[in-house]
Symmetry: none
Subunit: 240 residues, 4 copies
């Protein structure tokens, strides 16, 4: 009740609160919600066990706060829907940028790393917090990316077809996040190792652009009436 009021008034409190959030993000990402213990979080944050109760109410509220406050800024990055910088780029540039930024977010270390790992867990075992996250962060980006895909394909595709293509692109990125444990065991190496990252990014981009361009060309060839894209542009990828 008086919670939000109190943490604004005192800077010392805010420090504890921030440390608590950082520690919770790290431990929730590493262990999951249930396996994480408030004691371990408080130990990492150099805080008392009761601090969580004081600042957030209980463990659930702390988790919700972590998801809310450590989420990457929805508007700001180059991949963001409203970004001034990206709005005027050609679609293929936007497409490449999206993949690069998405991959970077999946692989970077630090607090955002925690967020993406927590998100991976949320997808397997959703909590109430997922609803808000989908609406606030995922849906806008997903729709923005679908528009990019539509720019690439040109007209002649249903919304469902566009969505499926966008999913096919995104899935290739998330795969390495969600199935990292299996890939490590299959290949005995980190799928996100920095030296492989560039190769991975290029593969996903070329693979996806090849598919999209080819499907678009086929569609327009088969339906001459609605065709807009010339066959020449179906060349899958120009070396950067």
């Amino acid at each position: 009740m008086s919670r939000s009021a109190t943490h604004e008034s005192a800077p010392a409190t805010a420090a504890t609160r921030t440390q608590l959030l950082a520690a919770a993000a790290e431990i929730f990402a590493e262990r999951g919600f249930r396996n994480a213990t408030v004691r371990e979080i408080c130990r990492h944050a150099n805080a008392n066990v009761a601090a969580i109760s004081y600042h957030f109410g209980d463990k659930n509220a702390l988790y919700a706060a972590v998801l809310r406050e450590t989420a990457p800024a929805p508007a700001g990055g180059p991949h963001a829907p409203d970004s001034q910088a990206t709005r005027t780029l050609p679609p293929e540039r936007k497409f490449r940028l999206f993949i690069r930024e998405f991959l970077k977010r999946m692989t970077e270390k630090g607090p955002n790393c925690h967020h993406s790992r927590i998100m991976a867990r949320e997808m397997i075992e959703p909590t109430q917090a997922l609803d808000d996250l989908v609406n606030e962060f995922i849906r806008p980006q997903h729709q923005w990316f679908q528009e990019v895909v539509r720019e690439l394909t040109g007209p002649g595709f249903t919304a469902e077809e566009i969505r499926l293509m966008a999913n096919s692109v995104v899935s290739q990125i998330l795969f390495y996040k969600h199935c990292g444990a299996v890939i490590e065991r299959l290949q005995h190496r980190d799928p996100f190792a920095p030296e492989r990252l560039h190769q991975l990014e290029r593969h996903i981009t070329e693979f996806s652009l090849a598919a999209i361009h080819t499907l678009a060309a086929a569609r327009h060839t088969a339906k001459p009436t609605r065709r807009r894209t010339p066959p020449k542009s179906t060349q899958p990828s120009t070396p950067r």
Copy 2:
């Protein structure tokens, strides 16, 4: 089923064991290993808590037994590496079959449904059981599928490139399993709804074949110079 036959004298025994396995599969899939309680499993199986200790040893061993005994037969289905039926098929047929069978396994209800959900959890939060599963089930199928992809591409690709393509195909299927919760919230409908399944299967197949054929054509044409794809060869697969 064939289990109770081996213990003709004590059908009640096998029944309890089987019920325990079924209940455990369901609850492990629903709640995860840690959140699942042996009490709930036993309640579902109409058995005493000590029955788990008697039949399996402890909760960990029960979990391992669930993963082992509810796993889909690695050899037997049409997508299996050793299948007589598939060995002589043309690669594109094998490719289409693999996607169809894989999707079917991800979406079907029943014990296999539980297995794939548990696997999804294992990938996020691996336990000791994952090592064996990777070696026994995942690795053989993954290698078989990579050979199919290589048949499609023809020579000229490194093992790493083949693996990346195979991953890109598989990832599109797993996406709907791992991110089902998000997709439901995005689109407000079940991504695996039976009426959409056929569309989903066709999309993943066409998208992937388009990409693979196009990349292969580009590689073979551009080989002498620097990877340049002639427009004609980009028509990868004609819709069935």
Copy 3:
């Protein structure tokens, strides 16, 4: 109810019963009553868990049977009260024999070893079985030994004084049984090692005889009226 009747009629049953007793003696001696599990006993005896219920009723009854049936024959050894062989020996010979036999019983391996270890536990943590054991085995031997001590001291000592002396002798033997764990840690060697046994036996004998003879001499010197033992006999020990 029909229990004792059944085990007489079938030899196969008696074999199981005997194996059960032997295994129980070993494990009760090693682990104590509570720490011993019926499963381990049955495993050692190559019997089913329900066999104990069948042959003895329950774990308590099995324990009582072990104490009863593995007890050393109360009459038979040279130290036994009723032994023909010992009745006519001079008291010092009987005294030396008692110590030797008692020590031997404490140290020997085999089933009797189990009995003495169980007895040691009974003294620390008595069960209902101890009452019978005291009356049947300990009391007769204790009284017989007190008479030996009285023969050594001659008259002039109260029953209480004789009992205290007998206790002082017996205690020196039991000490190495009851405090073996401490002695092992103090001296880093087995107090009952065969090569030390002879030295131990001689020490206890000489120490005790020196005390008894000296006390007797002092008593008789101090009370000339009741003296019977000549001072000469107070020499503590003649080398054997």
Copy 4:
């Protein structure tokens, strides 16, 4: 008592910890480590089951704490090795004091009573805690007492012989602790009844001194020939 003084701000804390220790000592002494339940201990201490986890870690740590914190002060009593008061006393006075103090410790009621009962159990069924106890408490006192015995005997005895004599003395005291259950059943009275304690103390002292003096006299006289004791020197100690 002095514990709560150190935590002036939270007297309730120390109180719970102390109550827990007292209750644990009592119940461990009465039932043994395994048979004692944390629930019963907490009930006696008017504390919650989790209090043991909080204050000590687990049942094992609580047991170790009981052994450590209820142990009699190794230095401080008159029988202690470093005691100023005893260092200059004649050996026979020290010897008598040792027996008196040892007996008193064995028989007194209260927390020390629990400690000696627990020690008796440790000797029968050692736990890891015994190692430390032997090194910290038993070994120093045992060595101090051996030196007293050597002062009584004079030179001419091996370390092993001295140790055996010391053991013979100590064993007479421990006997009434370790075999109390049997003695009660044999004599139908408490061996440590206060009215008998003085008699018991005098007996052990006189018995042991008689033996040691007599053996010493025999050794010194017989040294050149073969250990023969002159009658005169056998009068070891005149009754007080």
